[in-house]
């Protein structure tokens, strides 16, 4: 426990200070807090090596070789009693007391306890144990069975010879030593895991200090440095995540919080008139486009309750329901030509979880103004096909076998990429992992979205190669929930965004020039 660094606690405080990161970080930090919960855990097995071997052996011999921490405490509790047993167990006449002999009145006081122990351990073979004995029996089961070797045979069998008894004693000691070795090994393993966890937490905590004290104050100067980019790849500490996202997305549109308020009040007026008249109302100016109609309260409302339903915070009555509604409503007034498009609710929700309301709106509007997002949310089909084509260039380059497998089923990227790109993976990946993808997306731009897609395909390549069309389609539109960031990011890192010396942007640009291909729609056919 002394080794417990103060840093992780400080880190937790920072998490809680930031309202907007709280929901996300709570999910994230729950497992990270485990070491706190079992604060003594890593140290628990530690006393063992320092323990005198004699004592340790007896402790084990009597108490059994448990492995959980709870058992450790139980064992400690019994250590005292074990000490009292020490002479009995060690001396030859002493251990003979364990023999199955009717209770002797003239035994020393200690051996009464020994007798109870004995009966507790052997009771199940001869008679039902007392309730308290049964409990012990379960706890000490593994070695208590082993220790039977020390006992005398039942009266109806020939008694052990001295040599045999000694041999049994030796074998027993060896077994105990073996168990002890195993336990020490496991304890080391546990310690190592704990050390790694602490290290990870320390890393996040120290990364946070670097972000807050060094990088954020010198953002423009440092953002492109190698050191910052490397730190960035590791994942942003939740407490600075929103801030870094905001800075990285930028505010080309020069939206101010006041402008947000203006569009928000406009949206509220519109909703009011929508609910007063009917939604079929055509009294609006003739310029009311499809997008305008889609901005209706109903459409957004329907989707809000279907945004991260498992978090129970965006549903009606949930703490962020109105907030999400406001940001989406204000956006449809700000960009009526784009309007509300499905998928937006997921993006806005992730931003709301990490930023204050007006900042979330500013990041949202600027993010959707990026070329890739604009192409998708305006449902510019020919542009989307260009993105898919560029994706396939790198797909073939990185995963040729899987590429051919998909091609044999006419399984095109629009089957799985649409969901991934529209929601920036926030719907298809666990939220904490999606945030890490967003981190690097903010660093690397649209290219990283497609690289992540290839990383997912790489991660599951072996499984996907065994599947047919419908199973691949099902798999990719509903990814396994146990996907971990370590595995995914090592797969993403292994994806080379380099095609015969051309980078993503160049490949994409050359596809844009190549307009002859036009709107050829490759479409999937059912294959078995």
């Amino acid at each position: 426990p002394a080794a417990l660094p103060p840093a992780p606690l400080g880190f937790t405080d920072v998490n809680l200070n930031s309202r907007n990161t709280y929901e996300v970080s709570r999910r994230r930090s729950a497992p990270e807090h485990l070491p706190h919960g079992g604060g003594t855990a890593p140290a628990a097995p530690a006393p063992s090596p320092q323990e005198p071997p004699e004592k340790a052996r007896h402790r084990l011999g009597i108490a059994g070789a448990g492995s959980s921490f709870a058992e450790f405490f139980t064992r400690n509790f019994f250590t005292k009693r074990t000490k009292e047993l020490k002479p009995a167990v060690q001396s030859a006449p002493g251990w003979k007391l364990f023999g199955k002999v009717p209770p002797r009145e003239n035994l020393p006081k200690d051996s009464k306890i020994i007798q109870q122990e004995y009966e507790a351990r052997t009771g199940r073979m001869y008679k039902p144990p007392a309730p308290s004995a049964r409990r012990k029996n379960i706890e000490f089961e593994p070695l208590s069975t082993t220790a039977l070797i020390l006992e005398d045979r039942p009266a109806n069998l020939p008694a052990k010879s001295v040599e045999e008894a000694l041999r049994h004693r030796q074998e027993y000691d060896e077994m105990v030593a073996e168990a002890k070795k195993r336990e020490i090994k496991e304890a080391h393993k546990r310690k190592k895991i704990m050390r790694e966890r602490f290290k990870q937490e320390e890393n996040i905590a120290s990364a946070m200090v670097i972000w807050v004290n060094e990088i954020l104050p010198n953002w423009e100067g440092m953002r492109a440095t190698r050191r910052v980019r490397e730190l960035w790849w590791q994942g942003l500490p939740p407490s600075v995540r929103g801030k870094v996202w905001s800075l990285a997305v930028g505010n080309e549109l020069n939206i101010t919080p006041e402008l947000y308020e203006i569009f928000l009040s406009r949206a509220k007026e519109r909703w009011k008139s929508f609910s007063e008249t009917s939604s079929e109302n055509d009294t609006e100016d003739a310029g009311a486009s499809v997008a305008d109609r889609e901005a209706s309260l109903e459409l957004i409302k329907l989707d809000i309750s279907r945004t991260f339903p498992s978090l129970y915070i965006f549903q009606k009555g949930g703490p962020y329901h109105d907030l999400l509604h406001s940001v989406l409503g204000a956006y449809t007034c700000y960009r009526p030509d784009v309007g509300y498009v499905q998928g937006m609710s997921f993006i806005a929700a992730v931003l709301i979880l990490n930023l204050e309301e007006a900042d979330a709106f500013i990041a949202f509007a600027n993010l959707l103004n990026k070329p890739c997002q604009l192409a998708f949310f305006r449902v510019d089909h020919s542009m989307m096909l260009k993105y898919f084509a560029a994706f396939e260039v790198f797909f073939e380059e990185n995963l040729p076998k899987l590429f051919l497998h998909f091609r044999s089923y006419s399984l095109t990227p629009d089957i799985y990429l649409i969901d991934w790109i529209f929601t920036l993976y926030s719907k298809s990946l666990p939220l904490d992992l999606a945030c890490r993808v967003w981190d690097v997306f903010c660093r690397d731009g649209e290219e990283f979205l497609f690289r992540t897609g290839l990383g997912i395909l790489r991660l599951y390549e072996d499984i996907l190669l065994q599947m047919d069309f419908i199973h691949i389609a099902q798999f990719l539109t509903k990814l396994p929930e146990d996907i971990t960031s370590e595995k995914l990011f090592s797969c993403i890192a292994a994806i080379q965004m380099q095609n015969s010396n051309k980078k993503w942007a160049q490949v994409f640009a050359s596809l844009m020039k190549d307009n002859k291909e036009g709107d050829k729609n490759h479409s999937p056919a059912p294959k078995n």
Partner: protein, 212 residues
């Protein structure tokens, strides 16, 4: 694993209709036999596979394409229509606007997809969320029959994914028409080959099963 004399059919079925009418819920009920009020919005397309032991000689595998409902996605999602053999068009009985959109969905479907013989793909209309008891549209079955005839639906069903009403029946109706249109486009479909298991008073027969 199939017997030698067993035929296997693979059909791609589309499930389309306005946003939030319950397309995903219907599919989850049909394939996984469960219901949750907390499904996430579908972006693009989701998939499910349902295997039916149609009769002693026939296994039917249904590839269900659950297509995002927003009108705006029209251009994007029409590529998903290709080579489908049948479709469900779903609306929400509690939202009249979603019924008004049904003809749009049907026209869109027919303009982008025809069977190899040039006929439109068999399509069944599903009036979903019928458990919510709003019978504005449903109080007149004859009107609905008329609507289906006029708009080329092979049948219609009041369904509830929540209460598991009529979903299996609707699927059987659609598959029956697909098999019929596939095996012999001229032959008429007998209305009483398949008797749906009725477990609800709200059952409506497949109105067009007697169509030629």
């Amino acid at each position: 694993m199939q017997k030698h004399n067993q035929k296997e059919h693979l059909y791609k079925l589309l499930v389309i209709g306005d946003l939030g009418v319950g397309k995903t819920s219907i599919i989850k009920r049909y394939v996984h036999q469960n219901f949750s009020p907390h499904y996430r919005a579908t972006i693009g397309v989701d998939f499910a596979l349902k295997v039916l032991n149609w009769d002693a000689e026939t296994v039917v595998r249904l590839q269900l394409w659950d297509i995002a409902g927003q009108e705006r996605f029209g251009n994007m999602t029409r590529v998903y229509y290709r080579e489908a053999m049948g479709a469900f068009i779903v609306f929400d009985v509690t939202r009249p606007a979603t019924f008004e959109a049904v003809t749009k969905w049907k026209e869109d479907l027919d303009s982008k997809l025809v069977l190899p013989n040039g006929k439109p793909v068999p399509t069944v209309l599903l009036a979903n969320k019928c458990d919510q008891g709003i019978d504005v549209l449903m109080n007149n079955g004859i009107k609905m029959d008329q609507f289906c005839k006029e708009n080329g639906f092979v049948g219609w069903f009041e369904t509830s994914a929540k209460e598991n009403i009529n979903i299996n029946e609707a699927s059987r109706c659609l598959v029956k028409h697909i098999i019929a249109s596939e095996s012999d486009p001229v032959q008429s479909v007998e209305p009483d080959i398949i008797k749906p298991h009725l477990n609800s008073s709200k059952i409506v027969s497949c109105s067009a099963c007697f169509k030629s």
